[in-house]
């Protein structure tokens, strides 16, 4: 149950989504600075 491929896939997917959100916020706020300047 613990280490099956389904769980690994879910872990990878959740991590990628969270990392993606972090990168989007980083670039998004810099873009806001660019558009404002």
């Amino acid at each position: 149950m613990r280490n099956d491929s389904e769980q690994r896939k879910n872990i990878r997917r959740t991590a990628l989504i969270m990392g993606g959100i972090a990168i989007a916020f980083y670039l998004g706020f810099i873009l806001m600075g660019v558009l404002n300047a």
């Binding site: 149950m1 613990r2 769980q7 879910n10 872990i11 959740t14 991590a15 969270m18 990392g19 959100i21 972090a22 990168i23 989007a24 916020f25 980083y26 670039l27 998004g28 706020f29 810099i30 806001m32 600075g33 660019v34 404002n36 300047a37």
Partner: protein, 530 residues
């Protein structure tokens, strides 16, 4: 139950020597590393606070140059926020979350190792600026331009270290979210999770949303300084006020990043020592979520004096006041948990009770600051210093102390010295109030923040605060004594306390190096607590 989770991995236990700590992927080892690092930074930041309070003991300049005083205020804040409080909660999360949800470890153990080891590099770099020509950053932890751009050689060190701290926090937050969402024991539904786990889940979402915003802001500072951009330079068409908006869009949720896990800790401890389940568990979850949501829409209350339309002032004022509602839900739920409980007052409970009472004082002064016209008077005075120290010291730091005493027997396998713990509590509580309560009066009388000298009318309260700070600093040596003698007490039982609830109390004390290799049966564990 205990036998089922006992250490069945003796064949690959901890490595020996420094390699154990450098290469470890074990959540308990990494939790210990975070906690030791945080305690070290607590003393480094505390020493800086004592430099500040020594200078302010009497009017006039006596010990340090004003430039160095500014460096101390800046570094004290950065070290305490990013080096002491946040890593302490991450350390507690590393130690406790896998055990509380019945997981064998964090979901991404190698990233966990990286998250920690980035931190000493970041703080080594930041603290090394004290020895650079021009000294450490001195523009305040808020790093407002254009002032911060006048920082000397320390500027790129500051920017890089803030980036690294952010990276560490984001990786830690990803790990916590992934672990909680994917590695809970089969019967551990979301609303069954302990409050510490819930508050950390919400905190981790906040971290992922706002640490990149801080990173974006300091990246723009970097390009303004070295690559000819004008994001925040008025002379080049930029807007310095935009930095303040971006900074506080990070900064206000950051406040809740430092207090939500504290709410979680207190929500674990008060039921244990009241011998009752937490009153209104689900409403606590919704209250914490509401606080997190509201934290995103109140940032401009930090900048009322910058100037903004009346509608903006009203919006940010009322949105800020709204936070008192879910916070009140939490306070009343803790009180209701204690109501008619068979309470005892061991050290973790004492720190938790002081948290509830003193954090509420900080909350009320926050409400006063939320009133836009009043804030224009309070802004940049010691009233603000009193407010945020009340929520951070007898708030966050008392909760960290409570958590340390509460879980220490589970970590070491021995009961700590209760008399020394209580002495630590009483000295800390007396001196923390002696330090920060007079600052309310100083602020109301108009004493500005971040100055090394002041008018003689402020002398008495400043002397009280300085004596209090030194007493508070010395009191923490009692905590070191408790830690150093933590393996000299009686052996701790698996349950440690009379009435704790949660999977972490089903494993032996000290917790084995590997726990829950087989998923625990949550229902069986819960029935054993009834």
């Amino acid at each position: 139950m205990t036998a089922a989770v006992a250490d069945v991995h003796d064949d690959h236990g901890p490595a020996k020597g420094f390699k154990r700590w450098l290469f470890t992927t074990n959540h308990k080892d990494i939790g210990t590393l975070y906690l030791v690092f945080s305690l070290t930074m607590f003393f480094v930041g505390g020493a800086m606070a004592l430099v500040i309070r020594s200078e302010l003991m009497t009017p006039g300049l006596q010990f340090v140059h004003p430039e160095f005083f500014n460096q101390m205020t800046t570094m004290h804040a950065l070290v305490m926020v990013f080096g002491a409080v946040m890593p302490a909660f991450v350390g507690l999360a590393n130690w406790m979350i896998p055990m509380m949800i019945g997981a064998p470890d964090m979901a991404l153990p190698r990233m966990n190792n990286w998250s920690f080891w980035i931190l000493p590099v970041a703080f080594g770099m930041l603290i090394s600026t004290l020895f650079l020509p021009g000294g450490a950053p001195a523009s305040g932890w808020t790093m407002y331009p254009p002032l911060v751009l006048q920082t000397g050689d320390a500027f790129p060190f500051l920017i890089f270290s803030v980036h690294l701290m952010g990276l560490s926090s984001i990786m830690g937050a990803i790990n916590i979210i992934v672990t909680i969402l994917n590695m809970r024991a089969p019967d551990m539904w979301l609303l069954k999770m302990p409050m510490f786990v819930w508050t950390w889940l919400i905190t981790a979402y906040l971290l992922i949303a706002v640490m990149p915003v801080l990173a974006g802001a300091v990246t723009m500072l970097l390009t303004d300084q070295f690559f000819g951009t004008s994001f925040f330079l008025a002379a080049g068409g930029g807007d310095p006020v935009m930095f303040q908006h971006i900074f506080w869009f990070f900064g206000h949720p950051e406040v809740y990043i430092m207090i939500l896990p504290a709410f979680g800790v207190v929500s674990e401890i008060i039921p244990t020592f009241s011998r009752k389940p937490l009153f209104g568990h689900d409403s606590m979850v919704y209250a914490a979520s509401s606080i997190a949501f509201l934290s995103f829409i109140v940032w401009a209350h930090h900048m009322f004096t910058v100037g903004m339309p009346l509608s903006g002032q009203l919006f940010f004022m009322f949105a800020t006041m709204l936070i008192a509602v879910p916070t009140g839900v939490k306070i009343f739920n803790w009180v209701a948990t204690m109501w008619r409980g068979a309470m005892t007052f061991e050290t973790p409970m004492l720190f938790s009770l002081a948290f509830v009472f003193l954090f509420t004082i900080g909350g009320f002064s926050g409400l006063m600051l939320a009133v836009a016209p009043a804030d224009i008077q309070y802004h940049d005075t010691y009233f603000v210093v009193a407010h945020f120290h009340y929520v951070l010291v007898p708030g966050s730091i008392f909760a960290i102390m409570a958590a340390a005493y509460y879980w220490l027997p589970k970590w070491t396998g021995y009961m700590y010295n209760e008399a020394a713990g209580k002495l630590h509590f009483w000295l800390s509580t007396i001196f923390v109030n002696l330090t920060f309560f007079p600052m309310h009066f100083l602020g109301l009388a108009g004493m500005p923040r971040r100055i090394p000298d002041y008018s003689t009318q402020f002398t008495d309260f400043n002397t009280m605060a300085s004596v209090g700070a030194m007493g508070f600093g010395l009191s923490q040596l009692v905590f070191i004594y408790v830690l150093l003698t933590s393996k000299k007490g009686a052996r701790a039982t698996d349950r440690v306390w009379e009435a704790p609830r949660g999977l972490e109390w089903t494993v032996p004390s000290p917790a084995p190096y590997h726990t829950f290799d087989t998923p625990p049966k949550v229902r069986v564990a819960q029935e054993s607590f009834e």
